[in-house]
């Protein structure tokens, strides 16, 4: 069975500080990986997707970056946090090319003060 683990569970950070969030997928080789952002009580916005190691596509510009250093790992980061970065960050994976079903992790709650 596949499992997805996100870390940390929650973060409280100061404006202007750096950030690194991660997720790891176990039990599935070469998954498609995604980062989503959800404002409190809001909809889900896709930020990045990756279909292979070292290749990441940006969907929206939010002063964030993503990397895929290993087949099973996806990292979201920024050098300088903004207040608007607060929210719920979700990592997700899908099985194959064009497979629409997304499997989400349990998310990271980020509060920027």
């Amino acid at each position: 069975a596949q499992t997805i683990h996100q870390w940390p569970v929650a973060e409280i950070k100061a404006v202007g500080s750096p950030l690194s969030l991660g997720c790891t997928i176990k039990g599935k080789s070469s998954p498609n990986l995604y980062w989503y952002w959800q404002a409190t009580g809001g909809t889900l916005q896709q930020l990045f997707y990756s279909i292979t190691v070292g290749q990441v596509e940006s969907v929206v510009q939010l002063n964030l970056s993503a990397s895929r250093p290993k087949d099973d790992q996806f990292i979201l980061s920024t050098e300088k946090l903004l207040l608007s970065h607060s929210g719920f960050y979700l990592c997700a994976w899908s099985r194959d090319w064009g497979e629409e079903t997304l499997y989400f992790g349990s998310g990271t709650r980020l509060t920027v003060l």
């Binding site: 809001g42 909809t43 969907v59 064009g98 629409e100 997304l102 992790g105 998310g107």
Partner: protein
Amino acid sequence: QQQVRQSSQSLTVWEGETAILNCSYENSAFDYFPWYQQFPGEGPALLIAIRSVSDKKEDGRFTIFFNKREKNLSLHIKDSQPGDSATYFCAASVSGGSNAKLTFGKGTKLSVKS
């Protein structure tokens, strides 16, 4: 422009009633429509999905009714239970391509009272 619209931000029903959650969309190219269920503090989970070639999909107490001509769909939750209290997201995508780019609605928060 909101491509996927859920008509209610919140909905309250009594235990045992049928909850009906409505969704409409703009893009005629959308052909895959999943509903995701999210509990507080958790990631969303796929509940049920339908493709545009069908007009109905049933899975236990959950049924999707789909109207391609009107570009709308609804999720019916029969015999609602307090454990169904969650936020439900309607989503849509165009099949094919490497990016499973689902467009999500804003969600409907369902409360089931006992």
